[in-house]
């Protein structure tokens, strides 16, 4: 029904005021290999269709043929901007199926690093979103702060993006020497940087013109179409899995869930900025409360979850990232399904874009904060 038919004959092309425009897959503002076919009337979008799957690697199929610990690195390559979050979901799913008691220190370290990952993911979103809409400076500034986080990751995990951060039952090793100092330094400097971004953008006339009233979606529509994460909270729905079903150490930590009012691109921008401030609060508290002790639970040598199925989801930077795991009692999953937040958020693109200009499509793709590695899996 939504498949766009391309007018082929010359007569139809000339007679009709409509035009079919192909955008992508090699397009800088589609944030990856996303192809969008737009049906336009002048410059207004009438209809659009997304063509995805260019990065399809069959990760779910691969997982059915790997041991449980061997699957963890594949999760890093889903949403490669938020590898630490994805890895956390995977190890927590398996741990909860096995019924492992992960020591509290591991939970707190996970909380700190996952929140840092959320900040870095939001910073990259801000950088690219700003670049798409025409603010080049924010790209440089946001990447500068992101670099600090990646340096911490490199020292802790040995890698910047695909960290393979966690192991089932805990962590590969405790925090490195000077970890607390590094994180504290970042946490202390970060509010000043956020204020800088706000002075650049929040009251900027161009920014307001490009974001206010663009891609509006109401709370009910957002729930119906399946939006989650900051994209949903921008529409005023205060649903955050960190609050509603706390995992890791979030139950002991005090933070707020920012929500928007209008459900437009500007509100989602404000929500994400505020989320970065809240993430900073979480990191600070988790560092202060961090207990000592071991970082690893006692894990069986061969990991064989009990026969059955289990669904676990966490609040990733992009939304609800979930894992549905079916175990047949062997050392490999019978089925591992990734609930990809970006894919389901991208569904809303058509609804949000229709009636807007072509240039706004770029802004709306940016505000949905998609990563094609996760969409295609």
């Amino acid at each position: 029904m939504h498949q766009i038919e391309v007018a082929t004959t010359r007569e139809t092309l000339l007679d009709s005021p409509e035009m079919v425009l192909n955008m992508g897959p090699q397009h800088p503002s589609t944030h990856g290999v996303l192809r969008i076919i737009l049906r336009l009337d002048g410059e207004t979008v009438i209809d659009l269709d997304c063509d995805i799957g260019f990065l399809h690697r069959g990760m779910e199929k691969i997982a059915e043929n790997r041991l449980y610990p061997m699957i963890a690195p594949y999760w890093d390559r889903l949403d490669y901007i938020a590898a630490v979050s994805n890895g956390l979901l995977w190890v927590e799913t398996v741990e909860q199926m096995l019924g492992l008691d992960v020591p509290p220190r591991a939970h707190y370290i996970r909380t700190v690093l996952t929140e840092l990952n959320r900040i870095s993911s939001h910073l990259l979103w801000l950088a690219t979103h700003g670049l798409d809409i025409g603010s080049f400076t924010v790209l440089l500034w946001a990447l500068r702060e992101r670099e600090e986080i990646l340096k911490i990751f490199e020292r802790q995990f040995g890698a910047r993006l695909t960290c393979h951060a966690w192991r089932i039952g805990g962590m590969p090793n405790d925090t490195y020497e000077g970890f607390a100092e590094d994180v504290t330094r970042f946490v202390n400097n970060f509010p000043m940087r956020l204020d800088e971004y706000e002075t650049l953008l929040s009251e900027n006339r161009i920014w307001l013109g490009r974001t206010v009233g663009i891609g509006v979606i109401s709370g009910e529509d957002a729930i119906a179409i399946g939006l989650s994460g900051p994209a949903l909270r921008g529409s005023g729905v205060a649903w955050d899995i960190r609050k509603s079903r706390p995992y890791a150490a979030y139950a002991d930590i005090d933070f707020d869930v920012p929500v928007g009012e209008n459900g437009d691109t500007y509100d989602r921008y404000l929500v994400r900025l505020e989320e970065m401030r809240q993430s900073r609060r979480i990191v600070q508290q988790a560092l202060e409360k961090m207990p000592g002790g071991p970082v690893n639970a006692k894990v069986p040598k061969i990991i064989k979850p009990p026969v059955g199925d289990y669904y676990h989801s966490i609040e990733g930077p992009k939304g609800e990232i979930g894992c549905y795991l079916v175990s047949d009692g062997s050392s490999r999953p019978a089925r591992m399904r990734v609930r990809p937040p970006c894919l389901i958020n991208l569904q809303a693109l058509r609804q949000m874009c229709v009636g807007h200009l072509v240039a706004d499509v770029v802004a709306i793709i940016g505000t949905l904060d998609i990563v094609l590695g996760e969409i295609d899996r």
Binding site: H2, G58, N65, W239, P300, V307, Y324, S330, R339, R377
Partner: protein, 370 residues
Amino acid sequence: MTDKPDDLPETSSVGGATPEDTDVSSTRADAATLPRSDDKSPSPGFVSTDAGTLPPPSDSAETRPTPESQAALTGKAPSGSSDTGTGVPASSGDPALSTPPPTQETADEKKASLIAEATARAVAAKGAATEKAASAGAPSAATAPGTPKAPVKKKEEGPKPADASDHALVKRLREQLGDAVIEATTFLGQLSVRVAAPRVVEACRRLRDDAETPFNYLSDLTCVHFPERADAPFDVVYNLYSINANERVRVKAATNEAEGIESVTSVWPSANWMEREVYDLFGVTFKNHPDLRRLLLPADWEGYPLRKEYPLHFMENTWTTTHLPEFSEVQQEQLEQRRAYGLEILSTPDERRVRDLFIGGKEVMPLDRK
């Protein structure tokens, strides 16, 4: 002498006056590479058989400074040895050249004794290893069948799905739907309700409009393939969430390829792409779907990759022959060779080794293998 490299030290120039100019240049060619690559390598002054018999030089050679070794290598004149008075190889290497017969004999004796020692040690080690293996063989053979059993026993003791007919939500559903609710279980605190496939939309609508826990959010829709179930191999799984009540429930419906299942896009529009994905990867058709096309794979792809019988390795099909560039002659030859040997295409030796660990769905640990 004239083509001497710049990096050679001054001391080595002493050896330049010897008549064997060609020899010197050849050894110098070695000298350019030897000291940098491997300090332990014996100097050319050694007879090759001698090199192994003298453990002290090879040990001390590790700490030997480079210029000295270069001097020892290039300097054939006796003055070279006086330069490297502290260096052991120079002092031991030069006598080997000047007075070979006596050192050779002693070296041979030493060598013989060393060899004897080494062989004795090797035999002893081998005997110990075999004894150990023999002694460990019986218990390991006894425990080897035992170790796989232990986890299996644990699993039987482990959590199992429990009947959840008493759950308030299940009771409400049973009142409304009657027989359509086939079974309800809880596993690890999660509630699953299996409903009859023809009435899945009705069940989903009831759940969405439920008075106490309105499941207004479709978290996930996916499919699981159970090839052993002949009549209904596919479980379509709906993971629902109630944002207001913070509750989760899972709905399952079994179906097969011919029957398909009703689409729930009328209940949750978000099911659209998730159902397309299931159709794409499992081949389950969704009736009344507004736009049932492949989502991730190309439109003209054949087969459904997430089915269990779909092979993991590369497979040629109509799509690959029409869309991928043709193989070159060499690639084609390699392909045929690999096929002739029964090797899987596109898998590295490492991968094959790893896959060897699982045979017939069970791990074959290295101990079990012959």
